[in-house]
């Protein structure tokens, strides 16, 4: 089966400094994959390459087998949505406005959001437990609330349903199974790095629910062993820009590999995995 998103021998360098070297990974539909690594291991750069925000200097990233370089940014945005570590706004938007911004890749250049887009936005707020915040100014929210709203915006972005059904109805083409939500991917870059434990648990619960109820695939980066175990089934260990190990959580998170990853003693790593 063609993976939803794949990195093939990807490398990246900022001027002379090599950040990633020869990284390969597959994200299959329905995956819950974590990229685990210490600070500075290249997690954020890898996610930026996978989301198309950055072009690899070597290798390629493929969406459904097609090189990202030849996928339009709107087509990519309808399949893959990104949640950054933190979101700072330049202007004072409301929560609902932020979530509606996720509808960008579904609208034409001068098109205005319609009832379908509003429905998608409200459903996304509902799924992240932020429906009651819709009219609040984003600026006034707590860190955990902000992060859930940004996840809601990403969900609204991935929600193809109403418009597509309408357009495909005109074309006389039945909705294709391959374009259902299980083939949509949420990329999260250290989504809880600046949140305390309570909010971390909240975000973990939201992400598990999105996977189970909406069938959304999840790829997240983190340096937090507990967070990755709370959500993911598979994990990629990233160390100094290279893949150290790749596989099911139980096989990869061994004291020896974790010790290697964080450059600590194996005796100290064992208790972390209890």
């Amino acid at each position: 089966m063609t993976p939803l998103l794949a990195a093939e021998n990807v490398g990246f360098a900022y001027d002379a400094a090599t950040v990633l070297e020869d990284v390969s990974l597959d994200v299959v539909a329905g995956a819950r994959l974590g990229i685990l690594g210490p600070n500075g291991s290249g997690k954020t750069t890898l996610l930026r390459l996978l989301s198309g925000a950055l072009r690899p200097t070597r290798g390629r990233v493929r969406l459904d087998g097609t090189d990202l370089a030849s996928v339009s940014s709107a087509a990519l945005a309808r399949r893959v949505a990104v949640v950054p570590q933190e979101t700072e706004l330049a202007f004072d938007y409301s929560v609902l406005e932020i979530v509606l911004m996720g509808r960008y890749p579904h609208l034409g250049p001068f098109e205005i959001e319609g009832p379908d887009d509003l429905a998608a936005a409200l459903a996304a707020l509902e799924s992240t437990g932020t429906r009651a915040l819709a009219d609040r100014a984003f600026r006034t929210l707590s860190g955990g609330e902000k992060q859930r709203v940004v996840i809601a915006s990403a969900l609204a972005q991935l929600d193809e349903a109403p418009r597509t059904r309408l357009r495909q109805g005109f074309g006389g083409q039945a909705p294709h199974a391959a374009h259902r939500t299980s083939h949509r991917l949420l990329l999260l870059d250290e989504p809880t790095a600046s949140l305390d434990l309570k909010y971390q648990l909240e975000i973990a619960a939201v992400l598990r629910r999105l996977h189970d109820d909406r069938g959304i695939s999840i790829l997240l980066s983190t340096h937090d062993l507990h967070f990755v175990r709370a959500i993911c089934t598979d994990v990629v260990l990233l160390s100094r820009g290279r893949v150290l190990a790749h596989g099911a959580i139980g096989d990869v998170l061994t004291p020896r590999l974790v010790a290697d990853l964080y450059d600590i003693d194996a005796r100290d790593a064992a208790p972390l995995l209890q």
Binding site: G52, T87, A90, D92, Y104, L187
Partner: protein, 334 residues
């Protein structure tokens, strides 16, 4: 619950109100002046235009000025909104990136050395100066990046502002008293246009830019989340930044060529409008355009009348009203 209505729709009546304010300002301002005229007599169908003094004062003397004020005010306010969105900085003005300094240098050169080159008018010289500044800043910001770097853009603009200011002082130093006086008056901002001609000359530039603004409104919203966030939502970030930079610069250059570097409109109006309609650029842009037009027409009417028969340069009025108002706004929001 309110959330069942699209937030965009809630702002539309306020945009309409700003439009009405603009129309009222443009019609009422020409009625104010040393010679009182009445709207009834201006539009009296029984009198030929050649015999209708009220109509002549209205259409030939005062209306061009009101229209110029509206055009310049609307253009500067809209350019301010676009620069603020592009730089993700609510304190940016249309002049932050050096457009006005370039325009001023062009104007100064035309005023001081114009006798040697009689073909070049002050307006076109200032527009040429503005375009030169835009070109330099763009080349600097674009040199090492795939898109525009907004940090380099800001630094280049600030540096160019300082450098051009030095050149302006140098040109003034070489000028005689009469030229220096004219130059100073130009820098204060003045909407005393002799006819519709300078308005028509600036209009194409502003019209083209406003088409770009209409396309930019939604990308600017997403750019407010940051470049990466915008690009992963499907916004062509590099293109949007380029279009924003050039269209806002062109509008600013055209506006300054008509009225000189009138200050504060480009920063106060967007802020005030955001208080009225929220942050969505699809509302902020049209509302700022209309409100900026109304604001500058009103300021100009004040400038013409407050110490009549003398006229204050309108730039002094906008700064005198705008400065304290802006401070109040800042304090109120803390």
């Amino acid at each position: 619950m309110m959330a069942s209505v699209l937030p965009l729709r809630r702002g539309v009546p306020m945009v309409g109100l700003c439009f009405v304010a603009m129309v009222v300002a443009i019609v009422v301002a020409p009625l104010i002046g040393s010679t009182p005229i009445s709207l009834g007599r201006v539009f009296d169908a029984n009198r030929a235009f050649a015999d209708n003094i009220d109509a002549q004062i209205f259409f030939i003397t005062r209306l061009p000025r009101a229209v110029a004020a509206a055009l310049v005010g609307g253009a500067l306010a809209a350019a301010g909104v676009v620069f603020q969105g592009l730089l993700r900085n609510p304190l940016a003005t249309p002049y932050t990136l050096g457009v006005s300094a370039g325009a001023a240098l062009g104007a100064m050169l035309a005023i001081s050395f114009g006798a040697a080159l009689p073909v070049v008018g002050v307006a076109s010289a200032s527009l040429a100066g503005a375009l030169l500044a835009v070109f330099i800043v763009y080349m600097l910001a674009n040199a090492r990046h795939r898109g525009i770097s907004t940090t380099v853009l800001l630094l280049a603009g600030v540096t160019l502002n300082a450098f051009f200011s030095a050149l302006i002082l140098f040109v003034q130093y070489l000028s005689d008293f009469a030229e220096t006086y004219r130059a100073l008056r130009w820098l204060m901002g003045d909407l005393d246009v002799p006819s519709y001609e300078p308005i028509l000359a600036a209009l194409p530039f502003i019209a083209v830019s406003f088409v770009a603004f209409a396309w930019l409104a939604r990308p600017l919203n997403l750019l407010s989340l940051g470049g990466d966030a915008a690009s992963t939502r499907g916004v062509p970030v590099a293109r949007a930044q380029r279009v924003a930079f050039f269209s806002a610069s062109l509008t600013t250059g055209a506006a300054v060529s008509v009225g000189g570097p009138i200050g504060f409109v480009g920063i106060i109006v967007p802020h005030l409008v955001r208080l009225l309609v929220g942050a969505d650029h699809r509302l902020v842009l049209p509302a700022s355009t209309f409100f900026g037009a109304a604001f500058l027409v009103a300021c100009d009417a004040l400038a013409r009348t407050v110490i009549a028969p003398l006229e204050l340069p309108v730039g002094i009025v906008t700064a005198l009203i705008g400065g304290p108002f802006f401070l109040w706004l800042l304090l109120r929001r803390r």
